[in-house]
């Protein structure tokens, strides 16, 4: 029977089932990915971020919350200018991942 509505999927980040494979691989080559303090400097300075939703700190977060596809999509916006690396207070060499 068509009721005119249906069950909606939950938007909760389900930490119990998040797949961290990619993030952990990234972490092995550069432990700096763990040290983000979400200050937003990378996003504020990002050349691509002026025109798109590109935010490096968000990419790191997406990878840690099981949104790998979204992260992959966003990372394509990176123009490899390297400004994020200059401004990061935790000296993350972001541009290397992109």
């Amino acid at each position: 029977m068509d009721f005119g509505f249906c069950l909606s999927p939950s938007s909760h980040v389900k930490m119990d089932s998040v797949d961290l494979t990619t993030f952990n691989r990234l972490k092995e080559t550069n432990p700096d990915v763990n040290t983000c303090i979400a200050c937003g400097s990378c996003t504020a300075t990002c050349t691509a971020g002026n025109f798109t939703e590109m935010s490096f700190r968000r990419i790191l977060l997406m990878l840690q919350r099981g949104k790998e596809e979204e992260a992959k999509k966003m990372i394509q916006r990176c123009m490899l200018c390297g400004k994020c690396t200059l401004v990061c207070p935790r000296v993350s060499t972001f541009v290397r991942f992109c």
Binding site: M15, D16, D32, T35
Partner: protein
Amino acid sequence: MKENIIIIGGGAAGMEAATQLQKLGLTPVIIEKSNALGGHIAQWDKLFPAFHNAKDVVSKMFDNVKDIKTYLNTEVTDIQRNADGFHAVLSNGEAIDGKAVVLATGFDLFKAERKQEYGYGIYNNVITSLELEKFFRTRKDERINNPKKIGFVHCVGARDVKVGNTYCSKVCCTTALKQACEMKEVFPEAEVYTFYMDLRMFGPGYEDLYLKTQKDYDVKCIRGRVCEVSEDMDGRLVIKAEDTLFGKPLRMTLDLLVLMCSMEKNKSIDKIQRQLGIENNSDGFMQNRDMYLGMNDSKQEGVFVAGTCTAPKSLPDTIGEARSVAVEVFNYVNNK
């Protein structure tokens, strides 16, 4: 006996104040309600930010006060001002006179069960930061049974209008990170999460501790206050929070949840405090004379305050105040 300085409270502030007063040539008397000196810090295992043994610091303090007259298991039951200073009646039936009174009465730990949604005292695997510290000392707590996932909740009983404490309890952030690292040391396979609103790393080496927590210990800090804790079929804890940096609600199952309980004013001193005419500040702690130049002075002549009786403080803060109060008392007695 007229040169006595009555120090109420034998914790870090009381002991250190007594030590310095003695060096300045006065006669401090410590009145401690419990059966040992040391206060809260004696129950602690390691100290932030560099994991020093609390015992080392405390035992030096014990050494310093070993010649100072100390009453244990004793409370002040009544205190009156007289021409020479103060007359205090003790619970053991004795009475002492003193030129000045130092209130070093410390804090009470927030009773975690008051934050009902966290289920302390209801769900087995919810413990407090103090209980975890005891575990580090004794390695005995049946609730801590090789946990695979551990969470720390910041600001329990702090920054919370609903429990009546709007203030920040200052030391819990750093303590949480310290304890998170220690848990990783004890259980290297465990995943450790902290749920914070702001990480207030206010002292020297504290920010380094934060960096180390992330980089070396792989502790995951999630920005969001834990909203609700419940228990599943297996007795594991289900928590809800918002991952506020990600902007989405988050759910997670944990084996152990540690509540970082805030400091509250030690209320067992309320009667004596009233007798001395010391008011509370807006946070419910004792009001000092001035926030900057009268931190250890009170509005009542001859009554001084030191340590966490006026606000949440770290151990170095407390020791600093204890030394400062000694100078204040010394000047007061000499100028009288």
